[in-house]
Amino acid sequence: MNSSAAAISFRGVHKQFSLDQAPVLAGLDLDIKQGEIHVLIGFSGTGKSVTIKHALGLMKPDSGQVSVFGSEIAELNDYQLREMRMNFGMLFQGVALFDSLSVYENIAFPLREHRKEMSEQEIRHRVEELLLKVELEKAIQKMPEELSGGMKKRVGLARAMALKPKILICDEPTTGLDPVTAQVIDTLIEKSTREVNASAFLVSHDIHAAIRIADRISMILEGKIIITESPEGFKRSQHPVVLQFLESAGVV
């Protein structure tokens, strides 16, 4: 498998929700390579989460193409889309744990659905292994409402990694967390994806985290990618908007 081939590819993607508003995506071009950690940063309301929803097939572009491992999402029927989504693990901004299920049941859920060959004992073993990785083995029987924001994110990450996805997608993984917890989450995301050689596509406005863990960083502005660079290259960028972003975050 060519390691530089795109896991997710956006080509000229346009998306507009209403005619009296500016398009959210205005010709977005972006490649997420296999095995890389790619962070998409940008100001609030610039289309970061919409970009993710296009990658997952939760939204369809008005025009342009979104491909996952070479398959264009718009051409897939419901069943093919379901198969395609088996490649993904997703950590939602609000985590989206099933609030009627315990931590154990939440992580076991995708395993029970898609790994019918696994016995209940094997599922328990896998859940415990995942919880150990995110250092939450003692919370196994807790309900989501009993968890702090950081703990929820860690459970969400464990659930996202349960099926050993080829692509991990994280929507604002550290929003609302204190800096120490945010760093723990970032490190866990990096460790989890590197271990299984998965790709990770994160959207965030946390440039510190992006520089710390990303292989490449892209910045979105008014629905277009204005720069894609390595963290070092990104820091050296002279693009006025990038400079403004870096200065406001105290990076330069």
Binding site: L56, L58, R85, F92, A96, F109, E113
Partner: protein, 255 residues
Amino acid sequence: MFTGFVGYIRYLGTLTLFATQSIAWLFVRPYRFPQFIDEMEFIGNQSLSIISLTGLFTGAVLAYQSWIAFDIVGTDSLVGVSTSLALARELGPVMTAIVVTGRAGAAMTAKIGLMRVSEQIDALEVMAISPKQYLIAPKIVAAAIATPFLAGIFTLVGNVGGYLVGVFLCGVDPGVYIHNLKSFLAPWDIYHGLIKSIIFGFVIATICCYKGYTTKNGAEGVGKSTNESVVLGIVFTLVMDYFLSVIIPTGMRSQ
């Protein structure tokens, strides 16, 4: 978005499409028996006490009011059959549908709506699980099956209430009460009500699930969807009741 007559037609089309797509998932593996059983328990079993209570008092008041009217013309022996007919053909299915809408339907909308606004439905989709298969189809099928059973219980308990009031309060002869009921109540009166109940259950669940599934704007949106689903469920029930009463052949009653 939907305005005027065309809007109503479009809305009906959207609901039909939603129900059809959800039901189509019933035939795709994995089959969702555990979810179906859970919904049957929630819609059916947990509604039993409220259905029995409302049924008892509906039958009682119906017997009492009809006795007042029949007594004027000296035909109070018809209290039993009039109560039974009204319960079996109209009040059983309609009142049950209203209770199911208020109790189970509102809960369905609120639960699905909350799952929608907290991205839990997106999470299901991303996990390659169809929310229509996992969440919606079991609720629609369970409601279509549970509602006629509940309507049957409502009618049965209502008849007990009618008998108690008719015989012990209004003084109708118990033998005459039962005799007239047996003579004039035909099996098709009961089938008529049960057929309507199946359709009511199906439509109510479809409306309530659709309202939850399309919820937007956080907690406020969940409240709005729940309110709309209850209002729509009751309005649809009453409007459909008229048309179904006309469509389901009355002539068969004589067979």
